[in-house]
Subunit: 200 residues, 2 copies
């Protein structure tokens, strides 16, 4: 049985951010779904600077099922991407791979419907690889580098250790571990809960 | 970073059984929902001897949402119990605790609707505590005992270590680790996949 002492962990507590299913849109797809030149409106700022949940939502239609009210995240990106949990995948009839954002080669596509039009993404549905956003200065002080894999301990009755948690470092990031709803619900974690990183 | 060698594990590979949301019914509740004296019919035998998924399904109605087609498991029990995943809990508007089967004190209730009637369970909705069913002979050979907590390693990109996995031992059991759909989907595990137990 593994047991841990304080010195087995890095001296940092990482807050959880739970990512519900959502979609990022490129300019062209936003035009198709919401009308030419449409501008997203801010519903809620997200923890990472500049990122926001938009008021706008779309319907995504897979081979076996439909999910309504899928939130658009802004600002627009250079590519469209749909991030779901595997539970959503079963409802849609899709089995997307675990990928980092933007790594879309070979991922399944899906139909997307907005108030002004519909389109079929030829690819872009992923299960997001869990990752920690970390400020560059903090990463340096913890001796962690961008793209490093770490392990994270979740305490409690549904306690677990997540392996293969990717560290993403940027001066603009704010410390947060992003999990999808399956991961968060499996571990009974909610936004703002704190977890610890095992010393690499 | 933890790394493991073969000798860190018990010499057994445990197949996964994923438990989708389901309901167990007592005789009286079966009568109310399906009619007096109703007998469940077998849809599919489950891995644990004598247990089966019935053809019969019910609708469960929580304060914020509804789940249709919730399968009844047979045979009837001395108590009614609803086992869901936390993802289902959010849809229903319930936050059930993690419990072992039958430990229902203080758990939320829910409305249940069948073809012949409806009832409100005053309690009985749980997130099932993950557990390994194990034959008594095998447990003895592995030096494990009933109610022991072990840790289980899941390999792969979504790899993790589940803590607090309860070992349940009986001569009638067949080796299997039962996870709910959130746990299985978080770890990308499906029925029949194999995992390893860390040596206690």
């Amino acid at each position: 049985m593994m047991t841990f002492r304080d010195e087995d962990f890095l001296p940092v507590e990482v807050p959880i951010g739970v990512s519900n299913r959502h979609i990022h849109l490129c300019r062209q797809d936003l035009d198709t779904l919401f009308g030419p030149g449409y501008e997203l409106t801010v519903y809620r700022q997200l923890s990472q600077p500049g990122e926001y949940a938009a008021r706008e939502t779309v319907t995504i239609v897979g081979p076996r099922g439909v999910l309504e009210g899928v939130r658009v995240l802004g600002p627009v990106r250079s590519y469209s991407q749909v991030e779901i949990a595997m539970t959503d995948g079963f409802r849609l009839g899709l089995r997307p791979p675990v990928r980092e954002s933007g790594d879309l080669e070979g991922t399944p596509g899906i139909a997307v419907v907005g108030p002004s039009g519909a389109l079929t993404l030829p690819r872009g549905v992923i299960l997001a690889a869990r990752h920690i956003h970390m400020e560059a200065e903090r990463a340096a002080s913890l001796n962690l580098h961008d793209d490093q894999r770490v392990q994270v301990l979740v305490p409690g009755m549904r306690g677990m250790i997540f392996n293969n948690v990717i560290v993403r470092v940027s001066p603009n990031f704010r410390l947060e571990l992003h999990l999808d709803t399956d991961e968060a619900n499996a571990a009974l974690l909610a936004n703002g809960d704190k977890v610890k990183i095992l010393r690499p």
